[in-house]
């Protein structure tokens, strides 16, 4: 009897549950805080042992991330005109001068173009395919759906070399378009399956009502199905972006210069003249931001898109 009754938890139970959640949140957020903090440490603080929790913040990591520098002899440094900006000053204090911007900005831009480009394409194609699979009689539907899913089963390493050869043949090597198409192909299985699930949940009656109300099939899809699939589309888009954004294996194997994304680039910072952990941490921190913003922007849809029946069953 009492095991089925719905009662308000007691104060103590709430306290206990709340503390558990906070504890878990602290544990999971620790690496993130550590990365962000390391980005603002000086190189010596970054590798200090025992680790420094309190430290004097420094922008050195960020300056190093965005610039290329070269070391000059002390007398040549002294002969230079006084530095014009705070970051020139900072670099000279370490006995170096800025020779130009680093490639991080461009790699970051590549990530944005490829990540968002492939997400858009995955969602666009995925929604259409999912709608088709959900609403129409498609011959060998189950087999097709399984085939689409199976494309996700092989590890990137297994297909990277054939793809590399194909890309070289058709001139897509190390190109934005090539990477967008590749990530789209990988993400489509996810987006078709997820979106089909969401669209299946939308009763057919709404579209039928729209057809009667004088709309074409496509208009009914656009005006009635899409708004109701917003939740599904938003969450699927977040999954697709996270995959494309973080993807490492294909990126490291298939891109080198022009279309290289940030994930394979960030580790190369380590090699450039000593282990520059603050710069790596700064690169990682900035790299986190777009996905965070994207998720926060779409969060509204994740929660509000869920609509419960105006269809009587």
């Amino acid at each position: 009897m009492s095991s089925f009754s719905v009662t308000e938890p007691s104060k103590r139970q709430k306290w206990f549950a709340g503390s558990l959640v906070i504890l878990y949140a602290l544990i999971t957020i620790m690496p993130l805080i550590w990365i962000i903090a390391t980005g603002f440490k000086s190189p010596s603080d970054a590798i200090a042992y025992p680790p420094k929790v309190f430290f004097e913040p420094s922008m050195e990591g960020y300056v190093n991330l965005f610039t290329s520098r070269t070391r000059l002899p002390a007398e040549e440094l002294a002969a230079l005109p006084p530095s014009e900006t705070w970051y020139q000053e900072l670099v000279r204090d370490n006995g170096m001068v800025i020779t130009g911007p680093s490639r991080y900005g461009q790699r970051f831009l590549n990530s944005v173009i490829i990540g968002f480009g492939s997400t858009f394409l995955s969602i666009f194609l995925g929604t259409l395919a999912a709608y088709g699979f959900s609403r129409f009689k498609v011959p060998i539907k189950d087999d097709l759906l399984f085939f689409i899913l199976s494309t996700r089963m092989m590890p990137p390493i297994a297909v990277a070399i054939p793809i590399f050869l194909m890309f070289r043949q058709i001139g897509l090597s190390d190109s934005h378009l090539g990477m967008i198409l590749l990530y789209t192909a990988v993400n489509l299985s996810l987006s078709v399956w997820l979106l089909k699930g969401f669209i299946d949940e939308i009763p057919l009656e709404y579209e039928e009502a729209a057809l009667i109300d004088g709309y074409t099939r496509f208009q009914a899809f656009y005006k009635v199905v899409l708004p109701q699939a917003a939740t599904g589309i938003a969450s699927t888009a977040i999954f697709c972006l996270i995959f494309a954004w973080n993807e490492y294996a294909f990126a490291v194997l298939l891109t080198s210069g022009n279309a290289q994304t940030a994930p394979p680039f960030i580790p190369t910072i380590i090699g450039a003249g000593g282990k520059d952990w603050p710069a790596v941490a700064a690169g990682a921190t900035i790299f986190l931001i777009p996905v965070m913003i994207f998720t926060i922007l779409l969060r509204k849809h994740l929660l509000s898109g869920i609509t419960f029946g105006a269809v009587r069953k």
Partner: protein, 331 residues
């Protein structure tokens, strides 16, 4: 305004036969009510006319033109679904305006406002116009979905039990409004209901469906007074027609196996004796349940009858209907 003709329409869903060779002419401007128990094929008939489903066989004509290949939009029909199917992401106002904004109608904004307000007033939902469609009671949703049909000026209205979840007062208000709107527009109406009052008062014609077959089509009076079978006779009338062995009251026409007696077609005070088993005072009528030999019979009595359980009552038939072994009518 349109005449609708169904010509030998058949439709199956897998093994399930939903309609079998249904032929039916719905005259221009008429109000046709479809009757039949659940699963008889009423909704399927509406879906055939609307164009949401295609018949397996047969032809549908609107104003003499074969429309089998036309889309629902081209047929200019308005439909009230058995499931209300309001667009959940829109407000009540936008739900009502939705058909007016269609690429076919492209109604100007001020006219949309006017029409939506008019219809909302008729349906008594003006105060809910800015609600989300999901924030309504069942009866309010049902009215909005009727409204979505009424804002238009279609050739044909298709309504699938549109008043089923409304309270008695609203139901009788809207019954009158619907009939008024339909006749003032001169639109053709195909209407599904289980409600006898709706069928009797609104219909110009009634079609009786039995397992996908149209078994009788005629005026409400014809169906009520001159049914072709026990099945047809049972569709109208509350309480339901009493079906008893034909020889219970004596001589019968040749071939008759059962006798059908509507509760008001039983004369009391003479004839066969029955025991009163229950008396129901409904306000406007009083129903008396009797046990006659081994049969249950329901009849109507004077509103202020003093009959009580255990009393004896004598009954005899008046205008009986006779049926054969297959349930068909014997005259």
């Amino acid at each position: 305004m349109a005449e609708v003709v169904l010509n030998g329409i058949s439709k199956s869903y897998g093994d399930q036969v939903a309609l079998e060779n249904v032929s039916l002419t719905i005259p221009d401007g008429s109000f046709v009510v479809l009757l039949g128990p659940t699963g008889a094929g009423k909704t399927t008939t509406l879906r055939m006319v609307s164009g949401l489903d295609q018949p397996d066989n047969g032809e549908i004509l609107i104003n003499g033109q074969a429309v089998n290949k036309w889309t629902p939009a081209q047929r200019n029909v308005a439909m009230v679904f058995q499931q209300y199917s309001l667009y959940p992401h829109l407000t009540v106002r936008d739900n009502l305006a939705f058909p007016l904004r269609s690429p076919i109608l492209k109604t100007p904004a001020d006219e949309i406002t006017r029409k939506v307000n008019d219809v909302a007033e008729v349906l008594q939902i003006s105060h809910k116009l800015d609600n989300k469609a999901t924030a309504l009671s069942g009866g309010e949703m049902q009215r909005v979905s009727i409204g979505r049909a009424l804002v238009r000026n279609p050739d044909i209205f298709l309504m699938d039990e549109p008043l089923s979840s409304l309270d008695a007062k609203l139901r009788s208000d809207l019954r009158i409004e619907l009939k008024r709107i339909q006749s003032s527009l001169g639109a053709t109406m195909l209407y599904v209901t289980h409600d006898q009052v709706e069928a009797m008062t609104m219909a110009t014609h009634v079609g009786v469906l039995d397992h996908g077959k149209l078994v009788q089509f005629g005026t409400p009076r014809e169906i009520y007074e001159d049914p072709v079978s026990i099945y047809s006779a049972s569709r109208l009338g509350t309480p339901k027609i009493n079906v008893l062995p034909a020889d219970l009251f004596g001589a019968t026409p040749a071939g008759a196996v059962s006798i059908g007696l509507r509760p008001e077609h039983i004369r009391t005070g003479e004839g066969l004796a029955g025991q009163v088993t229950r008396v129901e005072h409904l306000g406007d009528q009083t129903r008396v349940h009797l046990r006659v030999q081994t049969h249950d019979v329901i009849t109507l009595a004077d509103v202020h009858t003093t009959a009580k359980v255990g009393d004896e009552m004598l009954i005899s038939p008046q205008n009986p209907l006779y049926f054969n072994a297959q349930g068909g009518r014997v005259k």
